[in-house]
């Protein structure tokens, strides 16, 4: 097992694309030559219900097929989850949590059950609405976690994502540019406070 194995846990709500972002990260990591796992935890999924998804990314095949209990990074796609879900449970102290929020970290810390590691925020709503004209938080959150974790080379990641969008949105190329701007803005804007 590689020491470099990185484990990421996603928290979102059904319909926000947390699972899609998790799968996109697996795609991007695969394109970068990594061994990947991307899998959601399935419950009674409905729009708005809290969902969890996971990534393992490493240089060797990872055979573990359990959930992730001690992630290196946690991504919170919807900050309203903070009051109901213990998102930093098991999160490594030398890791980080990336939260979609316009608030300063000082307002978010009280919800993190004493987590003392790094907290990053990104206003995915603002970026998404500016670049795409609608609220799709998953692309900016994906970019933010790549920027924070450096699990992938950020430049290479941007190139791979462009190729992936061109494939995914072959029938609606007008959205590619917006999504690319989303990525780039998010990587610039994500911050630890």
């Amino acid at each position: 097992m590689s020491d470099k194995r990185l484990e990421i846990r996603w928290h979102g709500r059904g319909g926000q694309g947390a699972k899609t972002a998790c799968m996109l990260l697996a795609d991007a990591a695969f394109a970068a030559g990594k061994y990947v796992q991307g899998f959601p935890e399935y419950g009674p999924e409905r729009m708005g219900a809290p969902i969890t998804a996971y990534n393992r990314i490493s240089d060797e095949r990872c055979s573990v097929h359990s959930y992730i209990y001690n992630p290196d990074y946690v991504v919170v796609v919807d900050e309203t989850l903070l009051s109901s879900v213990d998102v930093t449970h098991g999160l490594k102290e030398d890791g980080a949590v990336v939260i979609n929020s316009a608030k300063p970290v000082s307002e978010l810390r009280p919800y993190l059950h004493g987590y003392e590691g790094e907290v990053y925020t990104i206003d995915a709503r603002k970026i998404s609405e500016e670049c795409l004209g609608a609220y799709f938080p998953n692309t900016p959150m994906l970019a933010a976690v790549v920027e924070v974790s450096k699990v992938l080379d950020p430049d290479r990641f941007v190139q791979d994502m462009e190729a992936s969008f061109q494939h995914k949105f072959a029938t609606k190329p007008q959205v590619i540019e917006g999504n690319m701007r989303c990525l780039e803005e998010s990587m610039k804007e994500v911050r630890a406070q």
């Binding site: 097992m1 697996a26 061994y35 990947v36 991307g38 959601p40 399935y42 055979s63 097929h65 359990s66």
Partner: protein, 399 residues
């Protein structure tokens, strides 16, 4: 040339189906196998296969459709899970006794109730006596590879039995992982054409299939069916050998992982094997002599081979991902323990029922099992034989 890709287990099976291009797909959705007919429907719509895609109104009908099609002389496939498999029950037996080599992709899910969509093996374990060959997969790669081998095993003339290729619902069916995919032409060449000796639509020699069998005939047919299941062992190894020659990945009845000098071993089925391998590596690194046997083929049960593989072990835990409700252990335990009875020196064997309805099993859980086994090996004190793991309890549980 094989090609690196990343697919979920369901995508991998649908991809294998596209490459094989079966004649008939009887489709009915049920979580978590729904994606297989869903992906395949896209292949049909895109003209990548010329399969007759039959959207039926129930699983009883999907298996009936497969039976009709296979009897008529073509390859028929379907996919299902849990209650869907249960709803096929009667027809599973018809398929097996009519000796029709149908291929079923089973995406394992707990069989109700209380209602639950997550993984365990209670669906296919309940069908273990139906006369189907059952092969289980650890990950997406094995689901793909096992599926590519399925038809040749099932269609072997002295076998002629239906086959279930199982994988763990959600854990592998919905997890995207790296995979090596084989070339379409190489797959087609490996799987080959289906050429049954006799079939309903062979006009120069019409056939009657599935007659009423009176007592003076029934026993003979059942002995013949039992013999076919024994013959399947040879077919499974032959096809695996050719698969290894062709594609370079090796399969047997089971995989022995670091068993060479193991004092404690776990026997289990499916995706937990991957987690257990990581656990074995960690414990070996700490100096513990532990190993793993991942059972791939459950029907036919490789009794002698498994007993031989366990003969040098001091203590072993058979981990069942289905209850069985015998009151004394799950189905994998029953067969494994029975297989070990003829050994001169038997390992201490315990049964652990775990992972029901999607209850997670992590590396740490398996480490507790190995530590417990090492204690049995050291002290010779076995304690309770039939245990459950992972449940909340008022009492201090053994594991």
């Amino acid at each position: 040339m094989s090609r690196r890709d990343r697919l979920s287990g369901n995508e991998a099976v649908a991809y294998a189906m596209r490459q094989i291009n079966p004649d008939v797909f009887a489709a009915f959705p049920i979580t978590p196998s729904t994606e297989i007919p869903q992906y395949f429907a896209q292949y049909v719509a895109d003209g990548q296969v010329d399969t007759e895609f039959v959207t039926v109104e129930s699983e009883h009908s999907s298996m009936s459709t497969c039976i009709g099609a296979e009897a008529a002389g073509v390859r028929a496939v379907t996919a299902t899970s849990s209650c869907g498999l249960a709803y096929m029950y009667e027809m599973l037996y018809v398929a097996a006794s009519a000796r029709l080599p149908i291929t079923l992709a089973c995406v394992n899910r707990a069989l109700t109730g209380p209602i639950n969509i997550n993984n365990d093996h209670s669906d296919s374990m309940g069908a273990r006596d139906a006369g189907w060959i059952q092969i289980y997969s650890e990950n997406n790669q094995e689901a793909y590879d096992n599926y590519l081998q399925a038809m040749r095993i099932a269609e072997t003339p002295d076998v002629r039995l239906p086959i279930m290729i199982c994988q763990d619902g959600f854990i592998t069916s919905h997890a995207v992982e790296n995979i090596e995919l084989e070339d379409d032409q190489a797959v087609k060449a490996f799987v080959g054409e289906y050429e049954p000796e006799n079939y309903l639509l062979k006009h120069e020699n019409p056939l009657a299939v599935g007659p009423y069998d009176t007592s003076p005939y029934y026993m003979e047919h059942k002995v013949q069916q039992a013999q076919a299941m024994k013959n399947a062992k040879t077919a499974i190894l032959d096809v695996a050998a050719d698969f290894a020659r062709t594609f370079g990945r090796t399969y047997g009845f089971f995989e022995e992982y670091r068993m060479e000098d193991a004092e404690a071993a776990i026997v289990l089925i499916g995706s937990t094997a991957g987690t257990a391998k990581t656990c074995v590596d960690q414990m070996r690194a700490a100096g513990h002599k532990v190993g793993l046997i991942k059972l791939r083929v459950f029907r036919p049960f490789p009794a002698e081979e498994l007993a031989a593989a366990l003969s040098h072990v001091k203590a072993a835990a058979v981990m069942d991902k289905s209850e069985g409700f015998s009151g004394c252990g799950g189905p994998v335990f029953a067969d494994t323990r029975s297989a070990c009875y003829d050994l001169k020196e038997r390992p201490r064997l315990i049964n652990i029922v775990y992972g029901l309805g999607g209850r997670d099993c992590a590396v740490e859980d398996l480490e507790r099992v190995y530590q417990y086994l090492l204690r049995i090996a050291r002290t010779g004190e076995e304690g309770p034989v039939y245990l459950h793991m992972g449940q909340r309890s008022l009492d201090k549980e053994v594991l």
